[in-house]
Amino acid sequence: MRIIVGEGSCGLAAGAGAVHTQLEALIAQDNPRGVQLGITGCIGMCFLEPIVDVYEDDGTLHRLVRVQAKDAQTIYDAVMGGNLELLGKLAITPEDEQFLSKQTRVALRNCGIIDPESIDDYLAHGGYQAITKILETGMSQEDVIQQIDVAGLRGRGGAGFSTAFKWRAARDSQGEQKYLICNADEGDPGAFMDRAVIEGDPHSLIEGMLIGAYSIGASEAIVYVRAEYPLAIIRLRKAIEDATARGYLGEHICGSDFSCTLRIKAGAGAFVCGEETALIESLEGKRGMPRLKPPFPAQAGYWLKPSNINNVETYANVAWIVSHGGEAFAAMGTENSKGTKVFALSGKIARGGLVEVPMGTTLREVIFDIGGGIRSGKEFKAVQLGGPSGGCVPASKLDTVIDYNELAATGAIMGSGGMVVMDETTCMVSMARFFLDFTAKESCGKCVHCRLGTKRMLEILDRIVAGKGEQGDIEKLEDLCYAIKDGALCGLGQTAPNPVLTTIRYFRDELEAHIDEHRCPAGECRDLISYSIDKTVCVGCTACARQCPVGAISGERKSPHEIDPALCIKCGNCKTACRFGAVKVA
């Protein structure tokens, strides 16, 4: 029997560490059945964390969810007593199981299943077979790239450029020294796919990179990881050590002529470093300011040598493609977009987490069938794709299929996989402001359009959410948006207007309500709302008054309470505290 604790960052944040410690202590005391305690990465069902998987010896899985430290004894007793029915109250519900059962996993194939800290576990799950096959069967660089080409793999970082094209360009570029780089600077502030892959299956990234390095002729590979992902760095570092020790990295890999080293470079906190030329500058130890293209990295990248950059998810697909053949990958998806795509589903969603689905799946299927729709029975309003470079897709476009071109047609983008769901209480203007605040802070400051353009867009949105919008502001925003798209130097600036443009396109009425009527229809913008207590609903429990930080709520016990609007700071504590829905926002 094996007990596996899901220990990705969010599992740990939810308390998986304490569960593990407890179980470890109990098993250390007495382990009559020789139970093995192990760990795994994120299975992707973040809404159920911490998750503990109990495997019977025949492989039967009992998945336990929302496990707390206090449940450790129960699990221990059940496992040691051979009475697994005792675990029923912790077991995942059939409904929640749909979250996984409706997915198709390629990039995430091992996540939440194998022990990310064990190369043996990876090998046991078919790991390093793709690179072995390439080297042992003497596949040429072109043979490999051909498979990637047949697969139709496009960059999963957002822009969707053909991976095979990039690899060929880097391979054809003249130069003794070439570099293969992985962009793991996952910057979209609503996405965590790459983190999950590195934390849950670091060897698949290494293997994908090895195949890439082989294909372009690079002998040095670098993973540029966000510094905010300490666990990912630890696990990747161990994986590199293990792979090097087993001969999958270093000189003469698998006894061949192919040699490649891999190292980690920790980023230092700059969204713009997700842009490949800025990333290269950062790798060189400089300020992460984008370079002008041309030359492209394939010609002159890291230290001006031919370099290829892909993101984590792209590489995570590579070994699978080589093992299963490009056709198998291309069998999934749409004409333009092949294979699967991983999304980080979050926001006002009932079941949030990591979702991998074939291209061609509709947004509706992801959000409602897998994600279970909006939690707490509210109305779906929009889904944000692509983070600060993307946009909000409204309910009317829910049947859009996941496809680079189809999503671009909505004004959003495929993006790296952030999928943040919003309900009727989310203000779309505030949402646009949120993204502009992000891009303005993250603008490197080099080009005028981005440095000052995002700042001015933010200021206009600031005044709109404060009820101080002016007539003509929407038109001014639009004009600025198009000028920035045309004028900004890099992808960050060129796409920064997207969240604003989609808001204007789909939620113009909400913008107008803020500007013309000084009203926030979603009831979110603090300067435009007021809190009150519905006397007919209030039971006088005093819960709200106790939570009010400024003493703005008065009323006798068991009689209706009242909010003094002059004192109210609109913090929302009362609304959260009220169990009767008596606090109204207008």
Partner: protein
């Protein structure tokens, strides 16, 4: 007022020995510096400039570009308040307001007693637990304003006890 301990330049020597001669290592060296001193003291940056033959303008330019680097020391506990999209959608502004109200500090500031520093950070990648904050190495998820206040009070109380024990 907190007093700053004098900066011991020798502490960074091992990192300089390891990286000074490897081109492109400036960020790594600065990360090591921050790991060592808790921030990037100007005197250490000058020392790095000398040892790596890098203009000081370049070093400070890099140090001020990346969000990770601090040119001032931080409080005992570093609160990193997630500003990710999911956290925003799930009310991170309310958490931010509560923390600011509780501690009397805004983003980038440190409490007068030197106990807490507040930093707004881009996504911590725990979107399903949003809103989230990270204090030191621990992540706290599914926050409410009230819960955030309690966590801060508990941490402050622990420190108070610790001080008395001394």
């Amino acid at each position: 007022m907190r007093t700053l301990a004098p900066v011991d330049l020798s502490l960074i020597e091992p990192a300089l020995d390891a990286y000074a001669d490897i081109p492109g290592s400036l960020i790594t060296i600065l990360q090591e510096t921050q790991e060592t001193y808790g921030y990037l003291p100007m005197s250490v940056m000058e020392h790095i400039a000398e040892r790596t033959h890098t203009p000081i303008a370049t070093i400070v330019g890099v140090a001020t570009f990346y969000a990770q680097f601090r040119l001032e020391p931080v409080g005992k506990h570093l609160i990193m308040l997630c500003q990710g999209t999911a956290c925003h959608v799930n009310g991170s502004q309310l958490i931010s307001a509560a923390v600011t109200d509780e501690l009397g500090i805004e983003d980038g500031q440190t409490t007068e007693d030197g106990l807490f520093s507040l930093k707004h950070v881009a996504c911590l990648g725990c979107c399903s637990l949003s809103p989230v904050m990270m204090i030191d190495d621990r992540t706290y998820g599914s926050l409410t304003p009230d819960k955030a206040r309690k966590i801060l009070r508990e941490l402050a109380a622990e420190d108070g006890e610790g001080d008395e024990a001394k």
